[in-house]
């Protein structure tokens, strides 16, 4: 099984430690993983802004970079959701279909494809899980509070097997953080308010470290936490799962 | 303009026919105590429940609950409390000062504490709304589990007017504070016999 590592553009530039953790984690799980260096972006920022047509070049490049792999794995629910859902604007060649079908968010890949939930990780902290919307409701990484389904959560399964980690319960289980891509800039007041409310929920429930499978949400929350000097750390779930293995 | 234009526009714009789903009632089947479920849901929606072993005791029961009611309309033969009599010919405006109405419910629905009241049961449509308080007499055996069964029960009725009533009138329009008693009846009591 050959896995192509997909690293979202902003993680590449601004949070390389998340990319490193993802790569190291997959390698430790004996995955044959390589990183096509000519990758750029999945095109989501353009699609979400209404410029889907202009994103076709980026989407085509994505397919080119990843078409030879059995699986494409990336530490981002929203990007993977974009590939699976919105690459319908491309002509559906066998390569496009293959890429769309085999793109996986990291946690889902580990649990569903590798069949592992105990990764031997250790992280002795009180952790709050932010269930990013695209991963949750788009990729069905877990059950959501609106639907009357049996409870399940890919990220919780992984975190509950990390030694010393105490997963704290939040008041609003899966409310959006308010990032929303360009929404964070064009509807700044609401975006900030939504982020502040999420952070307060974590603080109210004794969380020390906020984690999740989407660093865009985490980047937004971290920006607020740092500006307001709040006693919280933010880490991508790949970094937690990769710790002390 | 109007009918022809609308129908033409619909014909031109509607999608290819999508078949009508058939309602399978199996997913809704459950083993619950229908009577207890009905009673607790009537209370949940702000109504009162009284259980009577015999319908002949109804007058003393109602007088106990509504001692101050002076203008009373009884639509059931078993009660003699009525001070005003009505028929289909009664003008609705005459009922403005009615304190209490006693009507017969055809059946109750356990899942939501609702009772079906037909036009025949009230003679004048406005009665269950305009009366200050409302008492519904219901037979314990006349209960079903959910609305799908309810619609089967009324499927052969004479279609003029009828309604499901679930609890007294209410509103939460002022800062989400629930207030019992809005424009319709201030209280609702279901007397089960």
């Amino acid at each position: 099984m050959k896995v192509g590592l997909f690293i979202p553009c902003y993680i590449n530039q601004l949070y390389p430690q998340v990319a490193i953790a993802t790569l190291e984690l997959l390698e430790k799980l004996d995955v044959d993983v390589s990183y096509p260096s000519t990758q750029t972006c999945c095109g989501q920022p353009l699609g979400n802004s209404g410029y889907e047509e202009d994103s076709k070049g980026a989407c085509q490049l994505f397919v080119e970079n990843f078409k030879e792999y059995d699986y494409i794995v990336g530490p981002s629910g929203s990007c993977i959701y974009h590939v699976k859902k919105h690459f319908d604007i491309l002509e559906q060649t066998p390569d496009v279909i293959k890429v769309r079908n085999n793109a996986y968010e990291l946690c889902e890949f580990i649990v569903k494809i590798l069949g592992k939930i105990d990764l031997g990780a250790q992280f002795t902290h009180k952790v709050g899980l932010h269930k990013s919307c695209h991963g949750l409701r788009g990729l069905h990484l877990g059950s959501c509070s609106e639907r009357m389904d049996a409870h399940f959560s890919t990220e919780e399964d992984l975190l509950n097997n990390v030694k010393g980690l105490e997963l704290m319960s939040l008041t609003r289980k899966d409310e959006c953080c308010g990032f929303g891509g360009t929404f964070s800039v064009f509807e700044e007041a609401i975006s900030v308010k939504m982020g502040k409310d999420r952070i307060q929920d974590h603080l109210d429930n004794g969380v020390e470290v906020i984690t999740g499978a989407d660093h865009s949400c985490l980047m937004h929350l971290e920006g607020l936490i740092n500006r307001n000097n709040q006693p919280l750390k933010v880490m991508h779930i790949a970094e937690i799962l990769n710790s002390s293995i | 303009m109007g009918r022809a234009a609308i129908l033409k526009s619909v014909k031109e714009n509607k999608p290819t026919l999508v078949p009508l789903p058939k309602i399978d009632l199996n997913p809704f089947q459950e083993n619950v105590d229908i009577l207890e479920t009905f009673k607790s849901n009537v209370k949940l929606v702000g109504g009162n429940i009284q259980e009577l072993s015999q319908l002949s005791n109804i007058d003393s029961e109602v007088e106990k609950m509504y001692p101050n009611a002076s203008e009373i309309i009884s639509c059931i033969p078993e009660s003699n409390l009525g001070t005003v009599s009505i028929s289909e010919k009664t003008s609705p405006h005459e009922l403005e000062t009615v304190d209490l109405a006693i009507v017969k419910g055809e059946f109750g629905v356990a899942e939501n504490g609702a009772v079906w009241i037909s036009e025949e049961a009230v003679s004048t449509r406005v009665l269950p709304f305009i009366s200050n308080d409302l008492v519904i007499i219901l037979n314990k055996e006349d209960l079903c589990l959910h609305m799908h069964q309810a619609y089967k029960l009324i499927s052969e009725r004479k279609r003029n007017f009828g309604l499901f009533i679930s609890g007294p009138s209410k509103t939460a329009d002022i800062e989400q504070c629930l207030v019992i008693g809005a424009q319709g009846a201030m209280s609702l009591t279901v007397i089960l016999t």
Partner: protein, 456 residues
């Protein structure tokens, strides 16, 4: 003003935002509790969605069937292509009856058609009898929520309003007192009314009858006291058979307020002897929405408001920020169909979190339609030059690896080394309330080349 501008103003009062947010979240929680009690809830939603999909695909036949059956029972049926026609038809019925005093129960359709102001100009008094609607009518405001019209008003504000218009004594916003005073005031209006106007929750093709659901009993107090009852409905309110009411009535109130059913679900099939019953069937842009393959399922809507209660943006910006008759998520996919330019900011007033689609009892894929409307907005509505240029350039850069690498390097260099005052200037909206990420010495490409160069 765009949604964003109005929302910014709304957010200046953080306490009010918290209060509004909490009030609506509470309704969402009540909905969850009620839905959990229903065995087969998700199947019920599936059925409702399937029934509505069938309705839209056979709408003309159902409308004709409805009319035929209604006429058989002596209900008069009128058809209006537009809001103007609707208003004229309603007015004609009233004028023919010399009706001067009218009571109206909740009807978003009549809001959409601006019926009240039309009739008032013609010298007809029209009183909204739903308590929330009466409050906003007295306040001369539009409703901010389709089910809870006055959710944006505190009880103290209502108290002042009633003191001024109803002559109540100051009560510090006592809800029982104020509701009771409203009851007395509205009762007078019901008694004196020459005509009653109601909405229609569901119209049944099979029987020619319709159902009106209320908690207050105001629709019925109007309809059964007045000699004329006019029921206004959008074409999409049709359902095929009476048995389908079982599905919809199980979903409606639970989705809207968390109640198992509204207090009154009144089934109208004929006019009471000596009275008249009219139904006005309205298009007003609905057949146009029907033509749009991507957006037609928005016509499934049964006006429950659940999407508004769950929407994190609606809760923090309020219904008035949308500047449209129906606000919130459903409004943001209905309104652009009517006026794309006016409502172009609405599809962007969302993070596309998808919560709305999950609470929708008729399974409208609201968040997906918001995404699709965005593509149409950028095509058909003139966009700010800078935004458009930046995004188009981004499209090019992202399709060329070398350009992307260069852009990434420059951006990181700027972020890392430019002085703070430059980075956090007024041009940087992100930086208003948030710190930018700390820039590391290498990006991942560079690290990978060094640490894993064997894989190239």
């Amino acid at each position: 003003m765009s949604h964003s501008e109005k929302a910014t103003i709304f957010n200046k009062n953080e306490a009010k935002v918290n209060w509004h947010n909490k009030a609506l979240w509470f309704v969402r929680e009540k909905r969850d509790t009620a839905a959990h009690k229903v065995k087969g809830w998700e199947y019920l939603r599936e059925l409702a969605s399937g029934i509505k999909a069938n309705v839209l695909s056979n709408l003309d036949e159902y409308l004709v069937e409805f009319e035929k059956n209604a006429l058989k029972k002596n209900i008069k049926v009128h058809w209006a292509s537009s809001a103007e026609e609707h208003n004229a038809i309603v007015h004609k019925i009233l004028a023919d009856k010399k009706a001067k005093k009218v009571v109206k129960s909740k009807s978003m359709l009549t809001e959409e058609c601006h019926l009240n102001s039309y009739l008032e100009e013609k010298g007809i008094e029209i009183i909204d009898t739903d308590l929330g609607e009466r409050i906003v009518q007295l306040a001369k405001e539009p409703p901010s929520h389709i089910v809870l019209p006055a959710i944006h008003k505190t009880k103290e504000e209502v108290d002042e309003l009633f003191q001024e218009h109803l002559g109540t004594t100051p009560s510090n916003g006592n809800p029982e007192y104020l509701t009771n005073e409203a009851r007395k005031h509205l009762r007078q209006k019901f008694i004196e009314a020459d005509a009653a106007i109601t909405g229609v929750n569901f119209a049944i093709a099979e029987t020619g009858g319709f159902v009106v659901c209320t908690n207050e009993g105001n629709a019925d107090m109007g309809a059964h006291l007045a000699p004329v009852h006019i029921a206004c409905m959008g074409i999409e309110k049709i359902i095929p058979k009476e048995e389908h009411l079982g599905v919809f009535l199980r979903l409606l109130a639970r989705s809207a307020t968390g109640q198992p059913i509204t207090t009154y679900s009144s089934h109208f099939n004929t006019a009471a002897p000596g009275t008249e019953m009219h139904v006005v069937i309205v298009d007003n842009g609905r057949t146009e929405q029907l033509s749009r393959e991507d957006f037609r399922s928005s016509l499934h809507c049964i006006r429950c408001g659940a999407c508004m209660n769950t929407c994190p943006i609606y809760r923090r910006s309020g219904g008035h920020s949308y500047d449209t008759t129906i606000p919130g998520p459903i409004g943001s996919i209905l309104s652009p169909g009517k006026d794309l330019k006016k409502h172009s900011s609405l599809p962007f007033a969302s993070t596309l979190c998808g919560s709305c689609s999950n609470v929708c009892p008729v399974k409208i894929n609201i968040h997906e339609q918001l995404y699709k409307w965005r593509q149409l907005v950028t095509k058909d509505v003139k966009q700010p030059f800078i935004k458009k240029s930046i995004l188009k350039i981004a499209g090019i850069v992202l399709s060329k690896p070398k350009l992307f690498s260069l852009a990434g390097k420059s951006a990181r260099f700027m972020l890392k080394y430019a002085p703070r005052f430059m980075v956090y200037s007024n041009l940087n909206a992100w930086g208003n309330a948030r710190e930018l990420p700390e820039v590391k010495n290498q990006n991942f490409d560079e690290w990978y080349k060094v640490k894993r160069k064997n894989h190239g």
